[in-house]
């Protein structure tokens, strides 16, 4: 077979319906809208269905972990209040929600999540934040169309024990969305708590365990057989925080 323009022709292979279809090798990421920045999923596509997937990351430069910072800081010693940490947790979930709703094609709800996130980070008062958040939460939960589109996607068994918000990542994309909504509401309510932060349970699970590593480990299996739109939703519903991965700098000093 020739090589038009110096490019190899797409090879062919059997697909899930017993046909022989072209295989394209397509990297997704590291830069895509509403995508965990730095994540690359190397896929083999037939049509728009993923046949094979491997995950790699484009290494970051720093070792700052913005979303886990209150918990890490409390572990190192300085006094951190629970309220401060809950504020960061709520903002982290709203950030994830903005990305998932964006991938789900609901741009106005995504924009609302991001506006709330920015206001929570910019020290909005508890009453105001809770009131506006409730409206947002009602709107998202009421959408049966959204639930219909998200359910049965990216199902993770309870037995996987994947760390995540509110106890884990089990269930489908719709379940994980619901968990974010519940956790955000709880975190916003606790935003004025002045007691000392003593645990290490960050927005994405125990901060010392670096949950992102575990999420990336199960990701390829979840993506195989999914079509691109579903794959994007699955990745957005797990929203791994790549800052949690050991940077080159940290690995050298470990």
């Amino acid at each position: 077979m020739g090589a038009p323009g110096g490019l190899r022709m797409a090879d062919r292979g059997p697909d899930r319906d017993g046909l022989k279809l072209d295989r394209l090798h397509v990297p997704m990421g590291p830069v895509l809208r509403d995508w965990p920045s730095g994540l690359v999923v190397d896929t083999t596509l037939q049509g728009d269905v993923i046949q094979q997937a491997t995950v790699r990351t484009v290494s970051g430069s720093g070792d700052q972990r913005f979303w886990d910072e209150p918990w890490l800081s409390a572990m190192r010693g300085p006094h951190v209040t629970r309220g401060e940490a809950e504020r960061r947790r709520a903002a982290s979930h709203l950030d994830s929600l903005g990305r998932l709703l964006g991938v789900a094609g609901w741009l106005s709800a995504a924009a609302e999540a991001r506006r709330l996130r920015d206001r929570v980070l910019a020290a909005a008062s508890r009453e105001e934040a809770v009131r506006d958040y409730m409206r947002f939460e009602r709107r998202v939960r009421r959408s049966r169309l959204l639930r219909w589109m998200l359910r049965d996607l990216g199902v993770i068994e309870e037995a996987c024990r994947l760390p995540g918000p509110g106890g884990g990542m089990s269930g489908d994309v719709a379940t994980r969305l619901g968990r974010w909504l519940t956790e955000t509401g709880a975190a916003l309510t606790a935003m004025d708590d002045a007691s000392r932060l003593e645990d290490g349970e960050g927005p994405r699970g125990p901060v010392e365990d670096r949950p992102a590593e575990k999420v990336l480990a199960v990701l390829p299996d979840l993506l195989v057989g999914a079509e691109l739109a579903a794959a994007r939703l699955i990745v957005a519903s797990l929203d791994p925080d790549l800052d949690q991965l050991r940077s080159v700098h940290e690995a050298v000093h470990a």
Partner: protein, 307 residues
């Protein structure tokens, strides 16, 4: 009854179509500005015109080994299909082309959009546009049959395929009122046909803009113009088919047609901002198991009433 179309209609039609397309784009910009919390959202009204100016002067990007000819055919087909579908719609009393098979013509021109999007997606030799093309073909399989049945139901109610006759048959009661299922299905499938709002997965942001991902400069401008024109035509067709055309008290027919068209267009643009995207792997089943039987049932009822 079917007199010769006056010459002014030939000039008025493209102007009206362009104005409606621009109106839709403007309203969409304002709603986007409101959703993202931009200060002074009304300032976004000039965004579409700014975008036109930007695209006119923008340098074209090129992908590796594109099929430029097929891509351009695809892009131009989109505009041409929208214009040709629109010529059978009455501006006031009479359309530009008063065909005796107007409804069939309208449907045939819409189907050209399938070819248009596939070629535009295929041309750039790039994976995301290609995926967008696949998505639209799946969408076509889901929406086209319910769409055709909805159109045919209106024709059945009037006993004619001429759009003027369909308007005439609604002097007593709008078709939207006594064939609501056909009207609802028409609106859903019109949104799908114009790959708009919740049915915009062919140009979805999750695949970097899909079919239009690699389009730049004038190519992108024509594609976008064609898309808004198609949306405007889809909204405009709902008026003679289901909403009584230009019939209404006091005001002249052309004004009623304009007002009703703008109202439908506003609803379609607004729906885009209220709803998440609908994926065809989920919608296909509903389309074939619910919408097609529902439209067939509606057609049966209309058939019995007409008899």
């Amino acid at each position: 009854m079917h007199e010769v179309t006056p010459a002014w209609a030939l000039i008025a039609f493209p102007i009206v179509l362009a104005a409606l397309a621009l109106l839709a784009a403007t309203f969409d910009s304002v709603l986007t500005a409101v959703a993202t919390g931009r200060p002074a959202p009304l300032k976004a009204m000039s965004d579409p015109l700014r975008e036109v100016a930007r695209l006119v002067v923008q340098q074209r990007r090129r992908t590796f080994m594109p099929d430029i000819l097929l891509m351009r055919i695809g892009i131009f087909t989109l505009v041409v299909a929208a214009v040709l579908a629109g010529v059978v719609l009455p501006l006031g009393d009479r359309p530009v082309a008063d065909l005796s098979v107007g409804i069939v013509w309208f449907n045939a021109m819409e189907v050209c959009v399938w070819g248009s999007l596939w070629l535009t997606g295929w041309g750039p030799n790039s994976v995301y546009p290609l995926t967008g093309g696949y998505r639209f073909l799946a969408q076509g399989l889901a929406y086209e049959l319910p769409h055709m049945f909805a159109l045919i139901t209106a024709a059945l109610g009037a006993g004619s395929l001429r759009i003027g006759d369909v308007v005439g048959a609604q002097r007593g009661l709008w078709f939207a009122v006594w064939m609501p299922v056909a009207f609802a299905v028409y609106l859903i499938s019109a949104v799908a046909m114009a790959f708009w709002g919740p049915m915009n997965q062919a140009v979805g942001s999750d695949i970097a803009g899909g079919v239009r991902a690699e389009l730049s400069g004038p190519d992108r401008l024509i594609f976008q113009a064609g898309r808004y024109a198609l949306l405007a035509v889809a909204a405009a067709a709902a008026v003679p088919l289901f909403l009584g055309g230009g019939v209404g008290p006091v005001l002249p027919a052309w004004l009623w047609t304009a007002l009703k068209t703008i109202a439908v267009l506003a609803v379609l643009v607004w729906a885009k901002h209220r709803l998440p995207a609908i994926r065809m792997d989920r919608f296909m089943e509903v389309s074939w198991m619910v919408l097609i039987p529902a439209t067939l049932l509606q057609m049966l009822i209309v058939g019995i009433v007409v008899l």
